[in-house]
Symmetry: C2
């Protein structure tokens, strides 16, 4: 067995393992083969999102990770879909505008009129009333990131399910098992179900990530260079893996209201993932007990936070202090 | 090679072959393995549907086949989902009512008030304004029917693609190749694309087949005894096999408006089929040339018309006259 064993082969576990190998550490990743949240995630790198703006420590962590992303992506050595065109945040009805304006005021971004928005994205519905362009919000393709990390790590990744940490023989264990972390550690990580769609058309319909409130419903539309468009996501406090008629309907409704041309595109995937949530929806990054580190509970921000999480865990392994705001024993 | 070769292993070809074996004939079915329209069809047996009521010969054929169905289903010897609870035809808006009333008046069925409809189907939306109960409209599960026919015919079905009738060695050839009939015979059979969804929940949400006009869009909702619910169908003059965002959205919208509880159900399949259409949308059943019979172009009514088509083709093989209204050379 290796000096360090990472339990969990999702984007967090793989990022940590990659960073540790760069520090010359002997690392093995045990991958139980469960579907990770990264498999359905859209890959929006949005450090200033609405869900967090009352949590300054988390915002700082997200901004720090956003700054790490260009170097992290470049270091992988292949195209992982990193794109800095930026995000258009949009609102449809007067109620949607009122809701969105709270965040936009805080972000101090200039409001764009419908004509300005449609100059940036001609496919937008004429119903879109107002929006802002967030140049700091980026995207990456999580499936490409994981494929690149797997390529980098090669046979350091071992397909093996871990049912108890006592079965793992290593001087340091890093638990990065997403929703599975609860069972392994007793920490309060709960699954938050999300339904996500993938459409496919000719590239070029959209250029920006769209993050919108449409008739009271949040929806994002993330265009990839190859013509794939990710539409997400429901947020449900449920553990099942069922794609539901209502979930798919609500996502399609909001997306097609926002960009009517999406109706013509092929619907290639209807999927379910589970975000690993915590009581305060901030991640657990730090030492649980001597020899056991935890990196889990990233909720909606696992892709964004992968580089900073890898850096923090590597620091702990090298003897640095952790960040008390994300101490896994804080609850 | 057999005395009679049926080209096409869909519900029409299999029904013909079964009927011919019952007459003691030596029959082989060549099945090219293409997806037949039966694989997505809901299996509504609706002899008096809106699309045909100006075509009296076709209505007579459909009614005759509807009368054959109970015996046909019973003869298969297994449960093929034949259900005679009947269909509720429903209308939502005043415009929908005006459209539907043309057919209902012709059918001389008593109009049911919302309270009466909800007594029959408590899950119906309160938006449903009016409807009729059509006890003569039945349903069957086409996948079960084909499975039963395949079981009956056993090794008389040979997996083999036919590219030209000249390659087939038989004293009588029956072309029952659905949309593929055009290429084999030159007859004007065109694919009419339909997108169909399947949901799954606990049995008991619905008892009747629902056939509705919802905000101007036709939709049917077909509940099976095992909890499967079929929702269909788009009707598009297209040949592609793409499930589209807009197609799925429109079907879900109409179905959920009609029965709000469907939103909670799992969406288990999004599929595309192609109905084999003809210039007058009536089937081609008869002799094309000596030794070559055709049974194709059943458009939306292939499941309903399978028993009567099998009977007509068997009659022709036995030397009876065909029905000139469905002569394949009529165009």
């Amino acid at each position: 067995m290796s000096e360090i064993v990472v339990v969990g082969g999702g984007i967090i576990g793989l990022s940590i393992a990659w960073r540790l190998t760069e520090h010359g550490k002997d690392v093995t990743v045990l991958d139980g083969g469960d579907e990770g949240a990264w498999q359905v995630a859209a890959g929006m790198l949005a450090p200033g999102g609405e869900s967090v703006f009352e949590a300054p420590a988390l915002v700082r962590l997200m901004e720090r990770s956003a700054d790490l992303w260009p170097g992290f992506a470049a270091g992988l050595g292949v195209d992982v879909g990193y794109d800095d065109t930026g995000t258009l945040s949009l609102a449809m009805t007067a109620d949607d505008v009122a809701e969105a304006a709270r965040l936009w005021t805080k972000q101090q971004l200039p409001l764009l009129r419908p004509s300005e928005l449609r100059e940036l994205e001609p496919a937008l519905s004429p119903r879109v009333r107002i929006g802002v362009h967030s140049p700091r919000e980026r995207q990456v393709d999580p499936r490409r990131v994981v494929a690149a990390l797997r390529e980098r790590l090669g046979d350091r990744i071992v397909p093996k399910r871990v049912d108890a940490l006592s079965d793992v023989d290593a001087s340091t264990i890093v638990v990065a098992a997403g929703c599975g972390t609860a069972k392994l550690t007793g920490l309060p990580v709960r699954p938050v179900k999300g339904q996500v769609l993938r459409l496919r058309g000719e590239p070029g319909l959209l250029r920006h990530v769209l993050d919108a409130t449409v008739d009271g419903r949040s929806v994002y539309v993330v265009p990839r260079h190859d013509g794939e468009i990710v539409v997400g996501a429901t947020q449900e406090e449920r553990t099942d893996r069922q794609v539901t008629a209502g979930g798919v309907y609500e996502l399609l409704r909001a997306a097609i209201e926002l960009v009517p041309g999406l109706a013509e595109l092929e619907l290639t995937e209807t999927t379910v993932g589970h975000r690993p949530g915590t009581p305060d929806n901030a991640p657990l990054i730090g030492q649980l007990e001597p020899g056991v580190l935890v990196a889990a509970g990233h909720h909606r921000n696992g892709i964004l936070l992968a580089p900073v999480t890898a850096e923090l865990i590597a620091g702990l392994v090298l003897g640095e202090q952790g960040d008390p705001d994300f101490d896994p024993r804080r609850f």
